[in-house]
Every structure is written in C-alpha cells, then in structure tokens.
C-alpha cells in the first residue's frame, strides 16, 4: 500500500483524482440532462414524475448516487487541498502580472468557478433533492399516474426570478469550468496524442457549450413560456 499513499499524496496523484472525479461528473451531467428533457414533453409532467420516481427507487441508481456524492465531495476536498498547496508555492506575489498574455481566464480561475458551481449545487439540491428525498417541507401532490408531482415543484421554483438568475449564473460558471476542465482532465491522465488531442479539445468545447445550454433551457422555458 506504500506506493498507493505515495501516489495519492503526490501533486500528480492529487491531480489524477481531480481528473477521474471530474470525468465521472462529466458523464453524470449528460445522463442528468437527458433524463431532465422529460420536462419538455407537454404531458403536465407525467413522464418527468415517473422519471423522478425511477431515479429515487431503482436500487442500481441508488448505489450509483452514493458514488456520485462521493465523487463530488472528493472533487471539492482535493481541489481545496490543491488550492492551498498551490497558494503556498508562491508566498510573495508579483507587483505587475500580465497573466492574460499566456493563459485563459478560466484556466486560472477554476477554484472560483468551482465554488460558484458548488454554491449553485446547494441551491439546486435544496430546491428539489432535499424536498423529494428528505421531505423538506413541501407538500407534494399526486399526479394522474399516482407519482409524487415534482414537476409542479419545478414549475413553481422556476417561476421565481431568484431561481432563474441563480441557475443561469451557476450554468455560466459550469460552461467556463468545463471549457478548461474537459481537456485538462485528459491532459492530466496523460492522454495526449497529436491525432486525438485536437478532437478532445473540440469535443470539450462542444460539450461545455451544449450541456449548460441544455440545462439553462429548462428554467428559461418555465420562466418565460409556462
């Protein structure tokens, strides 16, 4: 086990964990997005409510959800340890610094973007997950199929300007985080190749645009068109 603790305590090992948990969260986002498109079905939420029930009762999903919580927590904790380690590597800063000349803004602000996403995540979980799973105080109605009507809660929440603005800010932060993070995860794993790296970079940009845009379409749709 000596080699393992040595690996995860090294700066490269920490980055490896950031990369692996990051990629895991990236795959989760796609699944979350695809499932949530049930909101657009126009059946007063029957499909969406059935999907929500499936997600909260299926034993396999249940197991994976604990992996997901662990993934998020690990990603955050290691990011914090790296942040302080990196800060301590330069105790005296520069008087004049022209970082724009050599690197992108998002690559230099992954911690800030991550914290914005984390703040958004708390709002998001409090809005729905907490209510649905832990009975946060909201009285759920029962829909025509006999499922708890989380769709009605989504509509109610997304009708508030606070939700609209906080979700959009969270998703813009997610766009920038993914814009750097997607390719960066592959680079950290050492998956670099002159044939495939341009493809990974293009895919990363496409992903960073499409996934947050897909999520943003939901509160925007409810707020303006429902």
């Amino acid at each position: 086990m000596g080699w393992f603790t040595k690996l995860i305590n090294s700066s490269l090992g920490r980055k490896l964990l950031m990369s692996l948990t990051g990629l895991f969260l990236i795959t989760f986002l796609v699944i979350h997005l695809i499932g949530n498109t049930a909101i657009f079905k126009g059946d007063d939420g029957l499909a969406f409510n059935a999907y929500a029930k499936f997600m909260s009762t299926n034993p396999l999903i249940h197991t994976v959800s604990y992996l997901l919580y662990a993934g998020i927590i690990l990603h955050v904790i290691i990011a914090i340890t790296l942040y302080f380690r990196n800060k301590s590597s330069r105790p005296v800063g520069y008087d004049k610094l022209n970082a724009r000349a050599n690197s992108s803004w998002e690559s230099r602000n992954m911690t800030l973007l991550g914290l914005l996403i984390l703040a958004f995540l708390f709002i998001h979980l409090k809005d729905f997950w907490w209510q649905y799973k832990y009975h946060g105080g909201y009285e759920f109605q029962i829909d025509a199929d006999g499922n708890r009507d989380i769709y009605a809660l989504v509509i109610e929440q997304f009708k508030t300007p606070f939700a609209l603005v906080s979700y959009l800010i969270g998703l813009i932060a997610l766009f920038f985080h993914l814009k750097h993070g997607f390719w960066s995860a592959f680079q950290t794993l050492g998956l670099d190749h002159k044939k495939y790296t341009p493809l990974i970079k293009a895919l990363g940009l496409l992903y960073a645009i499409l996934v947050p845009l897909g999520f943003a379409s939901m509160p925007v749709y409810v707020y303006f068109f429902k």
Binding site: L7, S10, D95, A101, G190
Partner: protein
Amino acid sequence: MEKERNYTLKIWRQPNAQSKGEFKTYEVKNISTGTSFLEMLDILNEELTLKGEDPVYFDHDCREGICGMCSLFINGRPHGPDEEVTVCQMHMRMFEDGSTITIEPWRARAFPVIKDLVVDRSAFDRIIQAGGFISVNTGVTTDANAILISKENADLAMDAAACIGCGACVAACKNASAMLFVSAKVSQLALLPQGQSERKRRALAMVEQMDKEGFGACTNTGACSAECPKGIDLSNIARLNREYFTASVS
C-alpha cells in the same frame, strides 16, 4: 539611425534573503534600440557604480540565449514581452520610448531571492540529481549510430532537450509549478533507448523531489509553455503524467 530612448525602471531591490526588499525607481537615458535588455542594465549599473551606489544584481552568463541563467520578470512576464527568447536576447526596441519597465525576480517558494533579482534555483539541480541522468560505462566512445532511433522520437527528445532550465515556467505558473521543466527532463530520456533502464525510477524520483522542493501542482493553464524561451510543448507534461502513473502502478 533611430532615436535613442529613455526609460523609467522600477526594480526590486533586496539586500539579502532575510531582508524585506522594495521597489526602487531609476532613470536610464539615451538607450539605443539595438541595446539588449541586459546591456541596458549594464549601463544602469555603471552609472550606479560611478555614483558609489550598490549595482543591481541580476543573473546572466552566456548572453546567447542558451545557458538559462538570465531570469527577469519584466512587465508582468518572465523574460519580458518578446516571444521565445531569453532576456539577454531581447532588445530595447521592444519597449516604447518614455515607458516604465517593472523588473522583478522569479517568485516561488522554491526559488528564494538571494539578492535583488537573483534567485536560488538549486531546487532544479536537486530534481536533476534525483533522476535526470542515465548511467553509462565510461571508456571507448561508442559508435554514434549503433542504436537505431526513430526520427519522430529523436525529434521529440531533441525538442524536450532544448530546455535550458531557466525557470521561466515556474515564474509564469500561477501555482509556481515546475511541471514543464521536470516533464522536459523526463521526456528527453524516456523517449530514447538509453533512458529505458532507469525510466520508472527516474519519473518517480524526480516528481518526489519536485514536490519536496515546494513547487505547486499543474492546473494545465499552459502559461509555462507560452512563456518558455525554448517553446517546450505541453505534451511533455502529459508524457510526464503517463510516465509517473505507469511507474506508480507497475
């Protein structure tokens, strides 16, 4: 001939490692555009010496862009605004007449200031000592082409070997990470047959030493490569990651 230029220099002065240090402002006049940046500092130092003041200490050696000694952080960038050159190869025509030029030392915990603009970069030497070498028997010179090496690998190894160890990568990185330096040194040997016997040991030992010296982790911002006077590519960092992880798990 173009008009000679005048500059205001804002230079970090620090008598020794223990003292606090501060910026001091100097004026230099009638600098020709063909003067190199270090020659401009020489002119300043001559004036300071004649006035009986302590000259500005800065590292330099070959002044041909190949030794890696010069190390100035100029107007917010290591080696200044020019692309892929060291400070000694940069000319004063890069700076507008009448402008203020801020000159700072490399800033990193692993590179403590010795005096003024001179920093201690022996952390790099200790990383090399940890594994940046190959063991060969001395004796008769072996035939140059006895071991066949593919053109691709020879080129990649040569590109990595262009690293002069100046530390601009560390200076540029927001985390003061030494990943580009270490990755170039690991790559130049990992790509060649002569580097195979110590390959795993090397990657593990050099990364361990890098961490021990207090350099930060890599965020893949690419600042190191963008500021590298030798244009060392980021793909070397991916290779180091591969080398380190495979060496760790195997």
